[in-house]
């Protein structure tokens, strides 16, 4: 005996079968596509084949964009990271770089020696070609051939000259080949260094006469109430130093108003101009004929 409920269940199952049949008729194409899609998703090889071209294009576009945007977006962070890395690994970096730097320095020194060697060879040839009277004259003037050859090989250049009040370190007059840092401060610092050295070694009767650093040197000529400091670049022979000191003495004697330079700005300017015309030789006026330079170093 069938109940009302049984009849209803049978009807539902039948409906579902009909619906399924209808679906297979209506969506046959879509169902095929769905199963094809499912097959692709289930197979890595098929998925790779389908996705790879698309992904490659997307990645390429993204990379292009990243390349363009990277410096703008990340340069600050990258710079900070590099700085931190350098700070924390200074020893390692030095260990890594020192052989390369050492090689570069060695090459540079070798190159400079070659230039010096060539230059000395040229000068020696020139000395050898000079007559007996030239050598005799140098002996009378107290000029040493070796010094002349060396000084001519690496000519010195007077870059700056200062006249500085001895106690206060205030600048009285100055001249320079090129514009440099504040000369008042340079004069003060030179005076402080001078005072420090003279005090530190407790030699009250002796004074600092020269400061040397690398190929630069500062020659100091002391007078009663002021001193003259001359900054030179290059090799300076003993004769050149003496000639320079003599020239300074002559300048001081020929400049009686020098003492007024501190009180009068006009005098300071006059003395500075005179210093420039007497001691500073512009590059274009420096003669290549060292034979003439050697007897009157630093002057035209």
């Amino acid at each position: 005996m069938s109940t009302k409920n049984d009849t209803s269940l049978e009807n539902t199952t039948e409906d579902q079968m009909r619906l399924q049949h209808l679906r297979s008729i209506l969506f046959s194409k879509e169902l095929d596509e769905l199963s094809e899609l499912k097959a692709i998703l289930d197979s890595p090889a098929l998925l790779d084949e389908k996705m790879k071209p698309m992904l490659e294009t997307r990645i390429e576009t993204h990379l292009e964009g990243l390349k363009k945007q990277f410096p703008k977006e990340f340069s600050v962070i990258v710079n900070r990271m590099i700085e931190q890395k350098i700070q924390s690994s200074q020893t390692e970096i030095m260990n890594m770089l020192s052989p390369i730097i050492g090689q570069m320095v060695a090459n540079y020194v070798r190159h400079q020696f070659q230039i010096l060697k060539d230059s000395i060879a040229d000068q020696l040839q020139l000395v050898a070609s000079q007559g007996i009277w030239w050598h005799l004259r140098n002996r009378i003037l107290g000029l040493n051939d070796a010094d002349l050859v060396l000084s001519a090989s690496h000519k010195s250049v007077l870059e700056e000259i200062f006249i500085i009040e001895r106690d206060s370190g205030l600048l009285m007059a100055s001249a320079a080949l090129y514009p440099t840092m504040d000369r008042d401060v340079v004069a003060g610092m030179l005076t402080a260094i001078k005072a420090f050295v003279e005090d530190a070694f407790g030699r009250k009767m002796e004074e600092l006469e020269m400061v040397q650093y690398g190929t630069y040197c500062i020659i100091i000529q002391n007078f009663h109430s002021y001193y003259v400091a001359i900054a030179l670049k290059g090799t300076v022979s003993t004769q050149e130093k003496e000639a320079l000191r003599e020239a300074i003495r002559t300048f001081v004697m020929d400049t009686p108003n020098l003492q007024n330079a501190m009180q009068d700005n006009t005098v300071e300017q006059e003395v500075s101009l005179k210093l420039k015309s007497n001691f500073i030789i512009p590059q274009e006026k420096r003669t290549a004929q060292w034979v003439e330079l050697k007897s009157k170093p630093f002057f035209n």
Binding site: E165, R166, S168, L170, F196
Partner: protein, 166 residues
């Protein structure tokens, strides 16, 4: 333009370099770095239309002034003697130091400065200033910048007056 040498002196750690930096650059650095030897800088100030170039020597601090190389003081026109309000030991030698410096520079302009005002209370500051054997010319704070500009401006004014009166 006239140029004058001014020395910043006093015991160590009283804030001479900080006053120097505050005056020159308008900045203050919390980090303490002791001065070795001397540091020199120039600043030009206008006083009544006259340009005065102050060559300021910031020298290494010493507990007493007779320990400072005497040659640093030679030719100086102005002395700024600095003390630290938070450390009483820095004004313990004030009287002897000023006497010593006045013997070296009888015609110099002296300014006595109590620095680091920001580190003491109003009450403590008043008490300290009253206990000093010399009256203090300026109470400053290099940290906040209080009175620093005025100190150097007044120094330049006094130096110019001295210069005109020979």
């Amino acid at each position: 333009m006239i140029s004058k040498k001014v020395i910043l002196t006093g015991s160590f750690g009283v804030g001479k370099t900080s006053l120097f930096q505050r005056f020159l650059t308008g900045q203050f650095n919390e980090k303490y770095l002791t001065t070795v030897g001397a540091k020199i800088a120039k600043k030009e100030i206008y006083v009544d239309g006259h340009k005065v170039a102050l060559l300021v020597w910031d020298i290494a601090g010493e507990i007493t002034q007779d320990k400072v190389p005497a040659s640093y003081f030679l030719g100086a026109s102005g002395i700024v003697y600095v003390m630290d309000m938070s450390r009483p030991t820095t004004f313990a030698h004030l009287e002897d130091d000023i006497q010593f410096l006045k013997n070296l520079l009888p015609y110099g302009v002296f300014k006595i400065v109590a620095n680091k005002r920001d580190l003491v209370s109003d009450e403590r500051a008043k008490e300290l200033l009253e206990s000093l054997p010399y009256s203090c010319d300026f109470v400053t704070s290099a940290k906040t910048g209080d009175n620093v500009e005025t100190l150097f401006q007044e120094m330049a004014t006094s130096l110019l007056e001295n210069h005109h009166h020979g």
